[in-house]
């Protein structure tokens, strides 16, 4: 007996709950020589901005115990080049393409969405709200519930496709931001983006990244991400896509059980380009072994026993 792995988010049916995370899967096509992209539940593109961005000076990455810090600086070819050069090939595959969108101000987010609105083959938009807001003095959109809500509302108003808001763990209170953007009309949430971190070269006495701090990702952050996803799913009604340190099928199952409707695979793609496919195969095997007929029966099935310390 084979298990139904499909899930639904914002009216979209995903053939399985395994998506790839923005910035860790290129524009998708880079992986086309590894496996049929049509096997994935979905692909979140590299973050797209209005104009091409060349990103930060090197060094841009550093390895840490169980993870890595990055400060790529959102390098991307720009939304127009994406639509013109990448999308036509990408939409050949039988999977959902989710365009990850960001800007340095309100209007830029909207402009990117307007351009994407006219393009074929995109299923949803994922707003990366953990970007420095140039107009607000570099403060991240994602840190302030009101800002995040306003942005969501504005995007929602013009978007022809569902809006997934991607939450930052660096927000003072991620649950408040989640509630605020839900109220503002977000169709779904994804969490978490990277956690702000620092690594120091003790010989040069400089940060190991050219920009100083960077975003922590990888297995090291899994327990924190899982906690936040649990908290968020219990605070909102819209579906939540879990992200953070997922490297094995067990990791993915933890997020689904904790309440995520789907998950995204990030850093694991780097050290194992087949990670997402191995996890999909692992899900099938797990369901078969445990007599699970639909993966949806697992979602949010965690029996929490909260006793205070």
């Amino acid at each position: 007996m084979s298990c139904d792995l499909s899930v639904e988010i914002a009216g979209l049916r995903f053939k399985n709950p395994i998506l790839t995370a923005s910035g860790t899967f290129g524009y998708g096509l880079e992986f086309a020589s590894w496996f049929d992209l049509g096997r994935l539940g979905g692909i979140c593109t590299k973050g797209l901005s209005l104009e091409p961005l060349e990103g930060n000076p090197p060094p841009r990455i550093v390895e840490t115990h169980g993870g890595m810090l990055n400060s790529i600086g959102l390098q991307n070819i720009g939304v127009r080049a994406f639509v013109a050069e990448k999308l036509p090939k990408l939409r050949q595959f039988q999977t959902h393409i989710i365009a990850n969108v960001f800007g340095s101000c309100f209007e830029e987010y909207l402009e990117v969405i307007r351009i994407l609105n006219d393009a074929e083959g995109i299923s949803a938009y994922e707003l990366n709200i953990s970007c420095p807001n140039v107009k607000a003095g570099g403060m991240e959109f994602g840190n302030d519930p009101d800002e995040a809500a306003r942005l969501t509302e504005a995007c929602k108003r013009i978007a022809r496709r569902p809006i997934i808001v991607k939450l930052s763990p660096n927000a003072g209170d991620i649950v408040r931001v989640a509630r605020a953007v839900e109220e503002a009309g977000a169709d779904a949430l994804s969490a978490i983006n990277t956690i702000l971190g620092l690594s120091v070269d003790i010989y040069t006495r400089r940060p190991r990244l050219a920009t100083g701090m960077g975003g922590l990702s990888g297995p090291a952050i899994k327990p924190i991400a899982l906690r936040m996803v649990y908290q968020i799913t219990h605070a909102v009604r819209i579906p939540v896509i879990g992200i953070g340190g997922i490297a094995t099928v067990e990791d993915a199952l933890e997020f689904l059980i904790a309440g995520a409707t789907a998950v995204q695979i990030g850093t694991a793609n780097y050290y194992d380009p087949l990670a997402s496919i191995k996890i999909i195969e692992g899900l099938k095997r797990f369901c078969e072994q445990h007599g699970i007929t639909t993966i949806r029966s697992l979602i949010g099935s965690l029996q929490m026993n909260e006793r205070l310390a």
């Binding site: 910035g23 860790t24 899967f25 290129g26 880079e30 992986f31 020589s33 091409p52 060349e54 990103g55 000076p57 090197p58 060094p59 841009r60 990455i61 550093v62 390895e63 115990h65 169980g66 993870g67 890595m68 990055n70 790529i72 390098q75 070819i77 720009g78 080049a81 990888g218 297995p219 850093t267 793609n269 780097y270 050290y271 194992d272 380009p273 087949l274």
Partner: protein, 275 residues
């Protein structure tokens, strides 16, 4: 084709105080360009999470597939872990990756191969290919020091494809061969022979590569350098290995990826002050 090859270790042992030689068996044959690399990890490796880049030193086809050789230096966690693997153990190797050296750049020119320390393994397949094409090839290899009584066995590998007198060893402390930096040995050679046409191919520490670029510029010789960068993926998706170059790639005014557009760049493309 690029794939995640599961390979079996045939041997893995220190060859000098500094360098280890690893020999593995692939069950198939693959096409390799000189200077291409693999991203390697041990089986069930949890920590460190990244694979490690290793250039393919030598390759030998045979009935069962292909044997690959690597030379490496134990620096940190990743290479220390690699050094603890034994014959029979399996490794996972993504590859071959990167662009490789253009060995047909200038068919009539003399090829000067220049390496510093662990830069050497990037040059063997190139030396072999050039020699096979009947090209004039010289190797200049630099080390800080070499213990007189300890030979460098891997230089013998080169001696089998090049004329022995085409190999120059330079040591900074003068313990063997040319006394001084390898780039000084190259300059002395160029000064002496003034070759009309020569192509420089270099791999080694950044200051050495930079000096090679200067030498090439002064003498208007083409030069190709193999760069290093921290790499999370090795196949072009993390954008972590970017270096600033004069020329653009894919809408990027400056940055190119060492793992994808590189690791080999024309020396004059590299913006050395921003490395």
């Amino acid at each position: 084709m690029m794939r995640d090859h599961r390979v079996r270790i045939l041997s893995n042992a220190p060859e000098t105080l500094t360098y280890w030689r690893l020999r593995v068996r692939l069950s198939e044959t693959i096409a390799i360009r000189p200077g291409q690399f693999v991203m390697a990890r041990t089986r069930e490796q949890w920590e460190p999470i990244w694979r490690r880049a290793l250039v393919i030193y030598r390759a030998e086809e045979h009935a069962e597939g292909m044997d690959l050789e690597f030379l490496y230096k134990v620096l940190g966690r990743g290479t220390a872990l690699l050094s603890r693997q034994r014959p029979g153990d399996e490794l996972e190797m993504l590859g071959p990756l990167g662009n490789g050296f253009p060995h047909d750049a200038d068919p009539d020119a003399e090829a000067l191969l220049i390496s510093g320390g662990i830069g050497l393994p990037a040059l063997y397949l190139l030396a072999e290919a050039l020699a096979r094409d009947g090209r004039a090839v010289r190797l200049f290899h630099g080390e800080p020091t070499v213990e007189p009584e300890r030979p460098l066995p891997f230089l013998d590998d080169f001696a089998r494809v090049l004329e022995p007198e085409a190999i120059t060893l330079a040591t900074e402390d003068g313990s063997r061969g040319f006394p001084g930096l390898v780039t000084e040995a190259v300059e002395a050679y160029l000064e002496r022979t003034r070759p009309g046409r020569a192509v420089l191919y270099a791999c080694g520490p950044t200051p050495m590569l930079r000096r090679v670029a200067e030498i090439a510029a002064q003498r208007r010789l083409p030069a190709y350098v193999s760069l290093e960068a921290r790499m999370a993926c090795g196949f072009g998706v993390c954008l972590g290995c970017a270096v600033k170059t004069q020329f653009a790639s894919e809408h990027m005014p400056h940055y190119r990826r060492v793992c994808a557009e590189g690791p080999i760049f024309r020396a004059e493309e590299v913006i050395w002050d921003e490395l």
